[in-house]
Amino acid sequence: MDFFELTTEPLDIGAIARRVVPPECGAIVTLDGFVRQFTKERETLYLEYEGYEPMALKEMEKLVAQAHEQFAIAHVGIVHRLGKLEIGETSVVISVAAPHRRAAFEACEWLIKELKRTVPIWKKEVYRDGETWAEGGEQ
């Protein structure tokens, strides 16, 4: 029941979390990343996410496999949205179900950190006064 997907459609956090529920688990931890309106007082109008899609899916698959090695978790779901995103729209959802919630928190936090380091997806921030491709480590 693990999954990792790229989509240009809006993300439904609840529906994604629900897909990682196994019968023996009682808690899901979900990270919901979304488009900030302000970054250091500069106002973002919208974002565009671009991915190297086949490599992004492979890297997401590796992260899920590594998470299972490192943490006592049941299932992981990762969905990243690509394309144009308005302010407040969800860009990424990572849901982790585990028998014990400690492992779910740890794995979810590890997964978002690694995703931001390794999965080949880039965001272009479009401001009132210009646009820029964010390069990693800036956030």
Partner: protein, 79 residues
């Protein structure tokens, strides 16, 4: 020996192409191939770059084969 070279985001913008074909000598290693790409597009040197061969991060030692897919991109910024 022909390979595809892909660019994304900031590198696509710098190079002005998303995909090009390049020709390398037999037994070229990925590190040499990427050095040649940077010589061909010196504007890439304004960026901190990552490299992939066949959709995996490259360590510079991979032997490039005919038909391989190389990619050059900046530090990722998804999430």
């Amino acid at each position: 020996m022909k390979v595809q070279v892909l660019f994304f985001g900031a590198t696509a913008e710098a190079v002005g192409e998303r995909e090009i074909e390049m020709d390398f000598a037999a037994a070229t290693k990925s590190g040499e191939a990427f050095a040649e790409i940077k010589r061909k597009f010196p504007q890439l040197n304004n960026h901190s770059l990552l490299f992939a061969v066949n959709q995996s991060y490259a360590d510079g030692g991979e032997l490039i084969k005919n038909g391989d897919e190389l990619a050059v991109f900046t530090a990722v910024s998804g999430g």
